[in-house]
Symmetry: C2
Subunit: 672 residues, 2 copies
C-alpha cells in the first residue's frame, strides 16, 4: 500500500503495518534508537494502537504523540555509563471524540509495550494541529452565515474565499466551554493571486471539535461593509546579480556608487544610489559614507595607563594602516581588488596593493512563503555586496565591511581581532582582586577597554534636504478598559523630529527600542501618505565609561552620544577634530573644533542638508581565551533598513526590484 | 628604476618620474579621473613637487597628501550635468623640518598646477604616520635609558626588545610643545615568539620630530621592578573541519550533540559538549536547547484585533508547521537533511522529508594579526555549523538557525519573512491618522505587532550545578582626581549573582551593557582564578508593549522579562503553560502553570541545576515595502560567547583548539 501523501500538505503519512514501501524503509531506523531520538514511525503506530485499545469503545483524537524524554538524572547516568539504557516512552495528548471532549495525557512505555499513565486534564485546550486548522476553511465555505457575509461584499464563488485558521486567544463568549479557533478571511481571484492583497472585513469563530461555525463577526463602519481591496500584488522573484566596476565606480543589483580611499578614513563611499526601474532613474540614498573616528579608552586608573586611549583614525589614519589583502585568507570567492595610493614623508607616492576587497556572497533567504493549504510556495536567495578593508593598529586588527543587500539595506560590520594590549604584574599584585583587567596568562594582565567608532553618514534620501525623526515604540496612552483601548493591547510608534543640532545630539533608548528615520519631508509616499525615508538601527552603542570631565571624556566628545545630527558644511569631517594627536578636546579651540563645538552652534537641522554621526562599538572585559590571539568579535553597529517607504509612488514601491514585483497597476474590478 | 618596496611594511613606494616599470603602469589610471577618485601616483608627485618648491629652502615633511574633494554643490552640479568638471585638487598637511616645527595645510590645484592655499595651523598635532611610529623602536633600542631599563630586567640583547609606537593622548610634562608618542615595551626571544606574551614594565616617551627619547617611565612596585612574563603563547592555526552524523548524533570541529525534534518545539539540541584535547574528554556545555515559546501580539486596540496574539509554538507547534526544505532554495552547499516524524489525528505517523537542514559555511575571518614592522602575519578563516528549520504559521514564515562557530560561540538566529497580516479599510478611515498600522496598498492596512520568542537553555557548564551572574559595565566609584582614579578613566564589570528565582527574573539594561555569565562556581580557572563560564549576550529584547493586566500580558507572562532563571524540574518546559490555546494565564491555574508560577516558588538558583529562558524578538511597524512579501528580517537574539574562561587549567584554555594553540607548557627562563 502506498503511503497517503495528500491529506496534510508537506506530510507523508504511513498507515499501520505499511513498512514495506521504499518511503517507509527510508525513515525506519535500522539501529537501536538513541534515548533522545524522536519516535520512529513504528513506535508511533505502537503507541497509538495501545491508546486506542485503552480508549475503546470511545475514539481518541491524537493531539500529539511525541518522545517522552528520559528524566535528566536517569539519562545522565546512562550517558556516563553508570545506569542502564532508559526505556523508550511516548507522550500523547488525546481528545475524546464524544460530547465530553475530555483531554488526557498518556505515557506509553514502548519498551515494555504498556500504558504507564493516563491523566485527565481539565480547563485546558491543547495545541491546534494543522488538521484542526484545516477545517476552518472547509466548514466556513459551506456555512450559510459566511456565504451571506461574502455575498454582502459581492462574492458568490466561495472557492475564491480563503480562511486562515488562527488560535483565538480568549473569547469571553465561550471561554473554555468550546475548543475554538478564529478564521481570518481573504479573497483570491485566481491561482496565482495573493490572498493577502484582498483581506475581507469579517472573522469567523468555530468549534474545532464539533466542526461548527459559532459566529461570523462582521465589522460595520457607520453601518456599512468595507469593500474588498482589489489591486493585485504578487511576489514573484526576479534578480539582477554580479557587479561591474568602471574605474572606481561600482554597479551592482541596481545600486551605483563611487569607491574612494584616503589616508585617514580609508574607504569612502560616495553617490550611493539605487535604480528605480519605474521612474527610469537612479534615486539618491547617501552622498558620502565613511568611518570618521574611533577611540579605545582603557579602564585601568593607574598612572601611565590613563594615556592609553588611541584614536586610531585621527591619530594614525585608517588608510595608512591598511593591510594588503590575500585571496583565500582575508577574502574568498571572486574578488575585485582596488589599490590604495598614499604618500611617504618625502612626498613619494606609496601604493598598498589589494587594499580594498569587493566581492559578492550568498546571504541566505531573501524571502519565502509557503501556502499551508497545499505546500506550494515561493522563495528567493539574498545576495550581499561587501566592500572591505582591514587595518592593523599596533596590536589590534579591525576589519571594516560595508555591506549592501538586495532589500536595500546598508550595514557596516566591524570585526575586531588581533592581539590584546598586555601588561606585566608584580608578584605583590593579586590578579583576583584587580577589577580593571583579566589575567590571561601567569603574570600577564589585559586591561578593560572600550572600542567606540563613529560612522559618518551624509544622507541624500531622494534629495538633499532631509530631516531625522526619532522613533519610540510606546504603549497607547488610553487606559486598559477604556473605549479606545478596551483590551489594553494598543501600541504605536511615537515620532519626534529633531529640529536643532543640540536636539540632534541624542542617545539610544532600549525601553522604547529607539530608532531614527532619515526622511525627505517633501517627498510623500502616495500609498501610506508619509514621507519617504531610511531607518537607522543601532543598539550596539555602549556609553563612554570614563568620568565626565576626564581626559578621554574631553577628547572624545563624539563618544558621549549615540547620534549627532548636524547641518552639512564642506570639510567638516572629523568629530574629534582635524588634529587629534595631543589635543585636549577643550571647547572653542580656535583651529581644531570638535563635534561638540559644531553642535553648540545649535543650527537648524530640519528639512536641510544634514550629516549624521552614528556611534557604535563594544566594551571589552578580556577573557583568558582572548590570549594569545583574539577570535573575531563582530559588531553590527548601524543597520540601515529602507523604512516607512523609500519610494514616491505606487510603482516605485518596487524601487527594489528584488524585493517585490507587483503588476504595478490597479486592476478594474475582476469578475467576482 | 625599480620601486622601493622596503621602507614601509606593505607599501610599494614610487620615486618621481618612475612611471616606466610594470608596477607603476599597473597603478597609473589611463582615463580621466572621476572627481572623487583618490590621487594617482602622478598627481601625488606633482603636488609634492609644488609644495617642496614653495617651502624651499626649508624641507617639508608630508603628513598627508590626499584628494581635496570638490565642494558638495559644485560636485552635485557636475554630476547632474549642470556644471563643468571640478578641478582636481590635493590637500596636504606638512611639518617643517626645522626648529619651528610649523604645521601647514596646503591646497594644490592639480588641474592648473598651482598652490591655492597655504595656511599655518597652530596648537595642533597631525596624525602619526607609520613612518613616525617606526622611529620609536629604532631610537629606543639605542637610547641609554632604555638600555638601562632593559638591563634592570636582565635583558642585554636589545634586538629582542620590541617597542610599539602609540599616540600618547595628553602628557602634561610637554603638552603641545613637542610632537610626542609613547612606546609600549615587549620582549621577544626568537622570530616565531609572540611579543604580547612578554610585556615589560616601562614605557618610553619620545619626540617624533627630533627623534629623541624624552623619558623612560618605569613602574616600581614596592621599590621593585616586575619580572618579564616568560611563558610562550603562540597563535598558529590548526583546524578540524566538516561534520559527521551518526544516527542523530552530530560531531563537528570538536563539538558533539544530539539532534532531536518534536511537534511542539521543533529542533531540540541535547548533550552539547566540546572536546578538550588536553584533558582528553568532552566537556559539557548545554544539557538541552530549544525554542520553547513565542507570541505575536498585535497593537490595534479595535475589537476583534485584540484577539490576534498567536503563540505559534504553544498554540500550533513548531514541529507541526515545519516546511520540507529544498536544496538551492532554502539551503546551499553540502547539506545533510533529517526528516521529522509526527502523527495524524488518527494516530498514523506522518513524515516531513528534509525538515532539518545541517550544513557548514565559511564564516569570514576567525582571527588575524599583522606585524606592522615587516608586514608578516597570521590569519585563519572561521567556519560555522548551522542546524535549521523553517516553519509556516499562516501568513508568516520563521527560519530558526542554530549556529556554532569555531571560537565556541552558540548563536540562535531567527529570520522572519512571509506575508504581513492585513486588514481592509473602510473609505471613512484615514490611513494617515491611524497610528496602529501602515497602509501597504490602497485600502489595505498592516497593523503594528511584536514577535517575542523564548529560547530555553538548560546549561551544564562543566557540570550540572551552575549559577547565573549578572554583569554591568560601570565607571569606578572613585572620584575624578582622587588618588585611586586620578584621570577618571577607571571602569570595571560589576558582578551580581542571581540567587533566587524572583531575582532571576530580570531585564536587559542598555546603560550598563548588561550581560549574564552562566558559571560553574566549583570549577576555577587557574590562570585568572575565576569560575569557568559561558556568557549570554542579548540586547534584542523589546519590552512587551501591551498594558499590565491586559489579556496578552496575562497570557504571555514569559514576555515580561528578558531573562528567567529557574531550578530545573523534569518536564517543566513551556513558559506560557503546557496548554496555551484559550488559556487566560491567571496565576495558580491548577493544571496549567506558567513561568510566573514557577518563579513565584522563589526557589534557590545558586550553584544548582538551573534552566534559563531568554526572551528576544522585535517590534514591527510595517513598511509599505513589506508588502506583498517581506524581505527577511534577521534577529540575533542570544549570542553566546565562552566568557571569562570556559576552561579549567592552563592547558585547557585550548579547549577550543581553533581559537589558540599554545605550547601549553611554562618554559624555563630562556636565554636573555
Amino acid at each position: 500500500m502506498a503511503p497517503d501523501t495528500n491529506s496534510i500538505a508537506g506530510y507523508t503519512i504511513f498507515r499501520e503495518g505499511d513498512y514495506g514501501s521504499a518511503e517507509a524503509a527510508a525513515v525506519i531506523p535500522r539501529d537501536i534508537p538513541h534515548p533522545l531520538d524522536q519516535l520512529s514511525i513504528v513506535e508511533i503506530h505502537a503507541a497509538a494502537k495501545l491508546i486506542r485499545e485503552m480508549a475503546a469503545p470511545k475514539t481518541p483524537k491524537f493531539n500529539c504523540i511525541t518522545l517522552r524524554e528520559p528524566p535528566k538524572l536517569q539519562y545522565a547516568a546512562y550517558r556516563q555509563g553508570r545506569g542502564s539504557r532508559p526505556d523508550r516512552r511516548a507522550f500523547a495528548i488525546i481528545i475524546m471524540q464524544d460530547d465530553s471532549g475530555q483531554v488526557a495525557e498518556v505515557i506509553v512505555n514502548l519498551t515494555q509495550g504498556k500504558i504507564e499513565e493516563w491523566k485527565l486534564v481539565k480547563d485546558v485546550m491543547p495545541t491546534l494541529t494543522l488538521e484542526d486548522l484545516d477545517l476552518m476553511e472547509r466548514i466556513s465555505r459551506k456555512d450559510p452565515r459566511v456565504i451571506e457575509a461574502c455575498r454582502g461584499l459581492g462574492i458568490t464563488d466561495m472557492s475564491k474565499v480563503f480562511i486562515d485558521g488562527w488560535a483565538i486567544g480568549v473569547d469571553e463568549r465561550w471561554g473554555l466551554e468550546r475548543r475554538l479557533q478564529q478564521g481570518l478571511a481573504y479573497y483570491r481571484n485566481h491561482e496565482l493571486d495573493n490572498q493577502y492583497a484582498h483581506p475581507l472585513d469579517f472573522t469567523v469563530v468555530a468549534d474545532t471539535e464539533r466542526e461548527e461555525v459559532l459566529s461570523v463577526d462582521i465589522r460595520y463602519v457607520n453601518g456599512e461593509r468595507t469593500a474588498i481591496p482589489l489591486a493585485e500584488h504578487h511576489y514573484l522573484p526576479h534578480f539582477i546579480m554580479s557587479f561591474q566596476v568602471n574605474g572606481n565606480e561600482l554597479s551592482w543589483a541596481g545600486y551605483k556608487m563611487h569607491i574612494g580611499f584616503n589616508y585617514r578614513e580609508g574607504i569612502v563611499l560616495s553617490d550611493v544610489r539605487m535604480h528605480d526601474p519605474y521612474e527610469g532613474r537612479h534615486r539618491p540614498l547617501f552622498n558620502r559614507i565613511s568611518v570618521a573616528e574611533m577611540v579605545v579608552p582603557y579602564g585601568c586608573p593607574e598612572v601611565s595607563h590613563h594615556k592609553k586611549h588611541a584614536f586610531d583614525l585621527g591619530e594614525y589614519g585608517s588608510g595608512y594602516m591598511t593591510n594588503s589583502l590575500k585571496l583565500g585568507c582575508d577574502c574568498k570567492g571572486a574578488i575585485h581588488y582596488m589599490d590604495a595610493v598614499l604618500c611617504t614623508g618625502k612626498g613619494d607616492p606609496a601604493v598598498i596593493k589589494n587594499a580594498i576587497c569587493i566581492h559578492e556572497e550568498d546571504n541566505g533567504l531573501l524571502y519565502k512563503h509557503t501556502d499551508c493549504r497545499d505546500g506550494t510556495g515561493v522563495s528567493a536567495r539574498d545576495r550581499k555586496l561587501i566592500i572591505s578593508q582591514i587595518i592593523t593598529a599596533a596590536n589590534y586588527e579591525y576589519g571594516f565591511y560595508h555591506t549592501f543587500t538586495l532589500d536595500g539595506t546598508y550595514k557596516l560590520e566591524v570585526k575586531l581581532t588581533g592581539m590584546l594590549n598586555t601588561y606585566c604584574m608584580h608578584p605583590s599584585e593579586q590578579a583576583s582582586v584587580n577589577p580593571y583587567g583579566t589575567i590571561v596568562a601567569p603574570t600577564i594582565i589585559a586591561q578593560n577597554h572600550q572600542h567606540l567608532f563613529s560612522l559618518r553618514i551624509d544622507p541624500e534620501v531622494d534629495g538633499r534636504n532631509n530631516t531625522v525623526v526619532q522613533n519610540d515604540a510606546v504603549e497607547s496612552v488610553e487606559a486598559l478598559g477604556s473605549a479606545e483601548n478596551p483590551y489594553g493591547n494598543g501600541f504605536y510608534c511615537q515620532k519626534t523630529p529633531l529640529r536643532t543640532a543640540l536636539e540632534g545630539a541624542t542617545v539610544y533608548r532600549h525601553e522604547t527600542g529607539r530608532t531614527w528615520d532619515i526622511i525627505n519631508p517633501s517627498r510623500l509616499n502616495p500609498i501610506c501618505k508619509k514621507p519617504v525615508g531610511y531607518k537607522i538601527v543601532n543598539n550596539s552603542c555602549p556609553s563612554l565609561l570614563a568620568k565626565t570631565n576626564s581626559v578621554v571624556w574631553k577628547r572624545a566628545a563624539f563618544a558621549r552620544k549615540s547620534l549627532w545630527v548636524l547641518p552639512y558644511r564642506d570639510y567638516e569631517l572629523y568629530p574629534a577634530g582635524d588634529y587629534v594627536c595631543q589635543s585636549t578636546g577643550e571647547d572653542n579651540h580656535p583651529h581644531n573644533p570638535t563635534i561638540q563645538d559644531w553642535a553648540n552652534r545649535n543650527e537648524n537641522i530640519e528639512n536641510t542638508d544634514i550629516v549624521c554621526y552614528i556611534q557604535f562599538g563594544l566594551t571589552h572585559f578580556p577573557r583568558t581565551e582572548d590570549f594569545p590571539i583574539m577570535p573575531v568579535e563582530p559588531r553590527n553597529p548601524a543597520l540601515w533598513v529602507p523604512p516607512s517607504s523609500l519610494c514616491v509612488d505606487d510603482k516605485s514601491r518596487n524601487a527594489f526590484p528584488q524585493t517585490c514585483c507587483s503588476s504595478g497597476e490597479l486592476k478594474d474590478n475582476p469578475k467576482l
